[in-house]
């Protein structure tokens, strides 16, 4: 049976925290990419947004749409920005030890077309205020995805993890 889902790299944030998690020199030998993340922020708030940039592109070419529920109400939002929002993760005032889980999927990342992204995320803290969200985004830039930068608003807390997988279609 063909191996279609392969771990490329993994990272775990140490005690000092980290503002960004960058995957660089991503091999161009797969069909799609997937990043599975577990994260928490060090900033003193219940929940904070997490963002992503692809291929080192920092201009305002990312268009996104988000559908989100917070345990009480559901809402949606959209926009164009210098990055794509991909998750809402717990901050320092959220329940201790709670982390958000999210999966980022980037199909056809080597293509010469704009790059699409989909993300499903759960920002849970074992309390009423917890988030479930779906994100979709497009980077209007045809660069191949050779790097992925995941950014949080202050610093990823210790024990946050991210693992990059390559997926082959055969």
């Amino acid at each position: 049976m063909a191996t279609t889902f392969t771990k490329i790299a993994s990272v775990s944030v140490g005690s000092g925290g980290s503002a960004n998690i960058d995957f660089t020199s991503i091999p161009q030998t797969y069909t799609d990419l997937c990043v599975k993340v577990s994260s928490r922020d060090t900033y003193s708030a219940a929940f904070l947004d997490v963002f992503m940039q692809l291929a080192g592109v920092t201009s305002s070419v990312y268009t996104y749409r988000r559908v989100i529920g917070n345990g009480t109400t559901a809402s949606s939002s959209s926009g164009t920005d210098v990055n794509i929002p991909i998750a809402v993760h717990p901050g320092a005032t959220a329940t201790a030890g709670s982390f958000a889980n999210y999966e980022i999927y980037i199909p056809n990342y080597t293509s010469a077309f704009n790059k699409s992204v989909s993300v499903d995320t759960v920002g849970d803290q074992n309390a009423t205020l917890s988030y479930n969200a779906l994100y979709t985004g497009i980077m209007s830039n045809t660069s191949a995805v050779t790097s992925i930068k995941i950014l949080c608003q202050t610093s990823f807390a210790q024990y946050s993890t991210a693992t990059l997988y390559g997926i082959k279609n055969s």
Partner: protein
């Protein structure tokens, strides 16, 4: 200044903002301070985010006040309005 730092999610002198970089070709993991460009981008992003959040809060507050004013004008409670619309 401390409040502005917090609003802009800026690190103070004692906290050097770092990035963890994983080179997928070599497997090498390095932790490095953010570059000047990254710090500038981070600050610009934080300011834009704070501004957007503020606009959303102002809009939400205005909507809540308009709703409350309408309920007062109609002389009904929010629960009664929900009953009417159910």
């Amino acid at each position: 200044m401390a409040i502005l730092d917090k609003l802009l999610r800026r690190n103070t002198m004692s906290e050097v903002a770092t990035a963890i970089e994983v080179n997928c070709a070599t497997g090498e993991v390095t932790e490095r301070p953010l570059t000047t460009e990254e710090l500038a981008q981070r600050e610009a992003d934080a300011q834009a985010y704070a501004s957007k959040k503020h606009e959303e809060e102002v809009a939400a507050q205005a909507a809540a006040e308009a709703k409350a004013a309408l309920l007062t004008k109609l002389g009904i409670t929010e629960d009664e309005a929900k009953l009417l619309l159910a």
